[in-house]
């Protein structure tokens, strides 16, 4: 197999199978830490949303449902292309893996650009928490709190997208250098786990932030 140079396991492992097992478990444990990280935010969100339900609903109406919905579709699409990239890597098609990861990267960037537009709208409307926050409502202060959550949660999520995009670039270059084979595809699979996790976080964020009080 000339196109797949033989890959040796790292020195601490006995074979590639042990190496893949270890790196997969490592990523799962890392994702558990991520769940706890976002879990802190979700907990705080739950506390305040139950304390100020009207304010959260009112604030939610000022989020752009169309753009949020578009981004949800974009991210689910990117999860599909990522899963296809993993499949290609497992089958030894470096070209397929690279192309699907490029598609994933593009979709991820689309998401970030749309998010940036949304942030800009919020800035124009004076919905950035702080001294310049303007909102004409008896709940104005609690709505400001709701927007604190909006920016903290979506900001943290976007940060994870940026990291994911950086990682994707690295793995695309690796796939283009024909690094992967049916024996050695672990890194792409682990990358996939991370990407799906970041998508799932959005799947929770979207209804919790955009869909409150809509019927």
């Amino acid at each position: 197999m000339a196109e797949h140079p033989a890959v040796a396991a790292h020195h601490q492992f006995d074979d590639l199978e042990q190496q893949l097992d270890a790196s997969t478990l490592g990523m799962w444990v890392f994702l558990v830490t991520e769940i706890m990280f976002f879990g802190g935010l979700f907990t705080a969100y739950a506390v305040y949303r139950s304390a100020y339900p009207e304010a959260f609903a009112e604030g939610s109406h000022h989020l752009d449902l169309t753009l949020g919905g578009l981004n949800t579709v974009v991210l689910i699409g990117s999860s599909l292309t990522m899963a296809l990239a993993v499949r290609c890597a497992q089958l030894g098609s470096n070209r397929g893996a690279a192309n699907y990861m490029i598609a994933t990267l593009i979709l991820g960037l689309v998401f970030l650009v749309v998010k940036a537009f949304e942030y800009h709208h919020k800035y124009v409307e004076g919905l950035i928490p702080g001294p310049n926050f303007v909102f004409d409502s008896p709940h104005a202060r609690h709505i400001e709190l709701m927007f604190c959550f909006y920016f903290a949660m979506t900001g943290m999520h976007a940060l994870h997208m940026v990291v994911g995009a950086g990682l994707l670039i690295y793995f695309i270059l690796q796939a283009r250098a024909n690094r992967y084979s049916p024996e050695y595809y672990g890194p792409v699979e682990v990358m996939g786990l991370y990407w799906h996790f970041v998508d799932i976080v959005w799947i929770f964020l979207f209804p919790l932030l955009y869909l409150i009080g809509h019927r």
Binding site: H10, H11, Q12, F13, D14, Q18, D21, A22, S23, L25, G26, V29, F30, V32, T33, E34, M36, F37, F38, G39, G40, L41, T43, A44, V47, Y48, A51, Y52, A55, P129, G130, P131, R141, H142, E144, L145, C148, F149, F151, A152, M156
Partner: protein, 542 residues
């Protein structure tokens, strides 16, 4: 592995002489070398944190606030706590002894992710650098607990730099825990079943679970405080309807389990020391192993005992009180099992064993006084007094640091290949024990009599006890300096150690001291339980 320079003819190649030069250390992926990098780093942070304690005890010699302003004193106890907890105690045993020993005890060549291991050291040092910057730039005065809204709004000190430092160092802790979990699951040598694992490994496994589950929560909490200070993201801001008590919940959700990050690895060390120097199999292996996991799980359910007087509801106070009593059970199981192991053992009073005895006694006092504090009514009386200060120093200094030093002495021949001077070591263990008790026992009485913590001045009638405490602290300081000097000395001048100077049954002793880079010349196959000792096997050196 990179290029290996030629060893000097006649000497055996091991991890210390396999490669030379500063680069071979700073870019190493060998878990044993990274352990030594951690040892150097955290010793530095320990002495910085200690310096603040010295200044505090100096101020407290007299009842008047005559040495420093109250604001300065606030900075002293804050920086003492931040340095000691986040940069010394949390990494201490796991990152030094755990890093060195986890792969060796399970018969692996290295941790599962050696590069991530090195990365975790750099992260810890970068976090330390941020915090040191905050110290040098003028300090921080929120207390190590960063309570809002003081930390987020009112304090005029370097909260953000400190918070960034603590936030960053948290990732080092997470990565260490992640590495241990994967290593213990996937890298065990043939025949090393879960119930043949040394108790040190069980303790580190439980610790890693806490690090992985708890640290991210404090990370996001500290981050939110930083965002509130810097960018008006006022999640805990009462003006927007935010709840400062929520901060306390999130903070203690990590910071109570963090106590077990500090003490569980110490318990693992003690299990190794007690069996080796009593020449006996551990009494109740499964219970000692299981109690580590039980502590990790229960430890996550008791955080509210820090908030009995913070305005949480009486009913949650009652639940947290009961749960806090429950967590004492697995700790007590360990103490009883160690004691039962000693019973009819052939006890050898070498330095590591002296530390183990110190640990068992002091941890018991610290643990039992913890039950006082878990009792709602008593806590209202002694909350935020020196009683609490004494209690947690018995756990963290009397427990965790005694275990750390005991472990450092026990494994020193393995780490350095040299024997430490036993006479000096016993002397300093004695000095430490006396200094420790003189420092902290009077604080129980002070707290019971009503002296609040975190004040730079106090009524005259408390002076005698405070002078005792300060005198004890100076003895304690000497007790820390002596081992530091003779251990460094022994690296160069100490007698060479045989592979297994203590006649220990542990797997890590079945390879040369110091070990070769990949720990074992060939992967060991494990055929028996741990702690197989017979009474007639003698300690080789003495």
């Amino acid at each position: 592995m990179s290029t290996v320079s030629e060893p000097i003819a006649g000497t055996k190649v091991h991890y210390l002489n396999a490669d030379y030069g500063i680069k071979s250390w700073l870019l190493t992926t060998d878990h044993k070398r990274i352990a030594l990098l951690y040892l150097a780093g955290i010793t530095f942070f320990f002495f910085i944190g200690g310096a603040f304690a010295v200044l505090m005890r100096l101020e407290l010699v007299t009842p008047q606030g005559d040495m420093m302003q109250p604001e300065t004193y606030n900075k002293m106890f804050t920086m003492h706590g931040v340095m000691m907890i986040f940069f010394f105690l949390i990494p201490s045993i796991p990152a030094v002894l755990g890093n060195f020993l986890v792969p060796m005890m399970i018969g692996a060549r290295d941790l599962a992710f050696p590069k991530i291991n090195l990365l975790s050291w750099y992260i810890a040092m970068i976090g330390g650098a941020f915090t040191l910057y905050a110290v040098v730039a003028g300090g921080v005065d929120t207390g190590w607990t960063f309570y809002t809204p003081y930390s987020s709004t009112y304090s005029n000190t370097h909260v953000i730099a400190t918070a960034v430092g603590v936030f960053i160092s948290g990732f080092s802790s997470i990565l260490t825990g992640l590495n241990f979990i994967v290593t213990i699951h996937k890298m065990r040598a043939p025949g090393m079943t879960w119930f043949r694992l040394p108790l040190f490994i069980w303790a580190h496994y439980a610790t890693s679970i806490i690090q992985v589950l708890g640290t991210p929560v404090v990370a996001i909490t500290i981050l939110l405080v930083g965002l509130e200070r810097g960018f008006n993201i006022g999640i805990f801001d009462p003006e927007l309807g935010g709840d400062p008590i929520l901060f306390q919940h999130l903070f203690w959700f990590y910071s109570h389990p963090a106590v077990y990050i500090m003490i569980l690895p110490g318990m693992g060390v003690i299990s190794e020391l007690v069996t080796c120097f009593a020449r006996k199999k551990i009494f109740g292996y499964a219970f000692v192993a299981g109690s580590s996991v039980a502590i990790a799980v229960l430890g996550f359910l008791v955080w509210g005992h820090h908030m009995f007087v913070s305005g949480q509801s009486v009913y949650s106070g009652m639940v947290f009180s009961v749960l806090s009593f429950l967590v004492a059970i697995p700790s007590a199981i360990k103490v009883f099992n160690w004691t039962a192991t000693l019973y009819k053992g052939s006890i050898v009073y070498m330095t590591p064993m002296l530390y183990a005895f110190g640990f068992i006694g002091l941890f018991t006092i610290g643990g039992l006084t913890g039950l006082f504090l878990a009792t709602l009514a008593v806590d209202v009386h002694v909350h935020d007094t020196y009683f609490v200060v004494a209690h947690f120093h018995y756990i963290m200094v009397g427990g965790a640091i005694m275990a750390y030093l005991g472990g450092i002495h026990y494994w020193w021949p393995k780490i350095s290949g040299k024997l430490y001077p036993e006479g000096w070591a016993r002397l300093s263990a004695g000095i430490l024990f006396i200094g420790f008790n003189l420092t902290f026992f009077p604080q129980f009485i002070l707290g019971y009599l009503g002296m609040p913590r975190r004040y730079h001045a106090y009524p005259e009638e408390f002076q005698v006890l405070n002078v005792m405490s300060s005198a004890g602290a100076s003895i304690l300081g000497v007790g820390y300096l002596i081992p530091m000097i003779y251990l460094v000395w022994s690296m160069r001048y100490g007698r060479p150690s045989p592979p297994n100077p203590w006649g220990s049954a542990g797997l890590e002793w079945k390879t040369p001291s110091p070990p070769p880079t990949f720990n074992f010349d060939k992967t060991p196959v494990i055929t028996e339980d741990p702690y197989i000792y017979s009474h007639d096997e003698e300690v080789e050196v003495g």
